[in-house]
């Protein structure tokens, strides 16, 4: 790993200033599990690391607060292990706690943070091999011409073909979570969904974080009777990344869906909301046929690359199973 300046500010504002002082050349160090691996691989080479672990007093970012009325405020430095172990989260949003507890391996969960999980960089093997986030060479995508078995089937009109890595993001987006961003211009709160964007040129990020801006907090409302389900397809039981995930949250009224959120992960360069499935489900009662139809609609626009046709099937099955899990129908099958 190449040397860097190490800064350990005591306040959030100092952290922002330190980052803004060297735009593009400084990185935020939270748990470090993604950043340090990227640095060791030489994929990123920040000149300054601004550690958030030294924040003091009210500035610390490792907290999890709950009120019945407003739900959760979760500091960005809260670890995945903290989430998985939180009694109140397990009661209110069991699916979120379970998702956090299934991520990565136990050693990683002890240090990896909520903020880091939401802001982690794609696992694309071209990106990680140093070919750049868009992996273009002489104007052509290496991904399209090469081995794209793990790449995007949706939102892949280019130039981005990687898939979003977080398995936490889809379920949080389905639950309408928001994130608080603190930057040189102050604080803003945006829907988590809006944190993600498609990079259009090399050098652009897949996150909507301005220079010097840090993600400080996740806000997650109360469950409010929503039926929530997720399904993750992964190859190995142990320490593996998802091949496809789906998260659904359903607001019900008189046995019918009043509002549906259907969000897929690992299928597109950003967490993929299926408006088609959501509008189909609205007003329906959920049974197997409805789940089948919604799942079909969710992948209707999929455009598989040369080697990832199978992911269309995985995404479809994930949506179907997430819907059945949300409504408890999986237990009756």
């Amino acid at each position: 790993m190449r040397p860097f300046d190490y800064a350990r500010p005591a306040t959030r504002e100092q952290a922002v200033q330190l980052l803004a002082a060297t735009p593009g050349r400084a990185a935020v160090l939270a748990g470090g599990s993604d950043l340090l691996a990227l640095m060791k691989d030489g994929v990123v080479t920040p000149e300054r690391l601004v550690s958030l672990q030294g924040l003091q007093g009210d500035h610390t970012l490792r907290f999890l607060r709950y009120t019945a009325a407003a739900g959760f405020r979760i500091g960005a430095l809260t670890t995945l292990a903290d989430l998985a172990a939180s009694e109140v989260l397990r009661l209110e949003h069991p699916v979120v706690a379970e998702t956090a507890g299934r991520l990565a391996g136990p050693q990683i969960r002890n240090v990896a943070t909520v903020g880091g999980n939401l802001c982690q960089r794609p696992r694309c093997w071209y990106f990680r091999s140093g070919f750049g986030l868009l992996a273009a060479r002489e104007g052509a995508s290496l991904v399209v011409a090469g081995d794209n078995r793990h790449h995007a089937i949706l939102g892949n009109d280019g130039p981005a073909y990687f898939v979003t890595p977080s398995t936490l993001a889809p379920v949080l987006i389905a639950l309408d979570a928001e994130v608080v961003l603190l930057g040189p211009q102050g604080e803003r709160t945006i829907p988590l969904e809006k944190l993600y964007r498609l990079p259009l040129a090399e050098g652009e990020r897949e996150h909507d974080l301005g220079p010097g801006e840090i993600l400080t907090e996740l806000q997650l409302g109360p469950a409010a009777g929503r039926q929530v389900g997720t399904w993750e397809v992964r190859q190995r039981e142990t320490l593996d990344w998802s091949l496809a995930t789906a998260a659904v949250a359903l607001e019900m009224e008189d046995g019918r869906v009043k509002r549906a959120r259907v969000v897929l992960g690992q299928v597109a360069p950003l967490p993929w909301t299926s408006r088609e499935a959501e509008s189909f489900l609205t007003g329906k009662t959920i049974d197997e046929a409805a789940a089948d139809e919604a799942a079909k609609l969710a992948v209707q626009g999929a455009k598989p690359l040369s080697k990832n046709r199978y992911k269309v099937q995985l995404a479809r099955v994930a949506v179907r199973r997430a819907l059945l899990a949300a409504t408890g129908l999986d237990r009756e099958l």
Binding site: P3, Y6, R8, A37, K40, S51, T238
Partner: protein
Amino acid sequence: MSDDLTTLRLRVNGETRAVVFPTHHTLLEVLREELALTGTKHGCELGECGACAVLVDGRPVLSCLALAAEMEGREIETVEGLQIGNELHPLQATFADLNAAQCGYCTPGILMTAKALLAENPRPSGDEIREALAGNLCRCTGYHKIVEAVDWAAARMRGEEGTPPAEVFYGSPVPDAPRV
């Protein structure tokens, strides 16, 4: 920037050690190079094999993905601190006894991770042991014996006599087929 050194007092295996190290060095590097604690191993160096796992404040973390500069005031435990006096820790004893260490390179990381598991859960199920060790690769690969060794150590730490699970049927009649 490569001259940038950090001076810290690290708590390692119950002792306070003053160390000076390049600021960008990982905990793994500082343990091995500054403190000569080479029991903790360099494996994949990218957080994917668990060979470098140590305990920080009682919880397993990957020392290859932790900056030593962030470790002030934390209690660090490595395999060198696992023994209780001259006695092997029960995990060490069962790993040695059952041949759960083959080439042995993954063993320190697994022992430390298992220690944290047993501190939290003295009676783990097989699935809980496997889940706790999901981040540790063994290429030799002794997974089967590793699970047995953790299970047996847990029993011994609970004060139960415990016996290792029944072995293969070498020299004894093969049992009847499993029931359908």
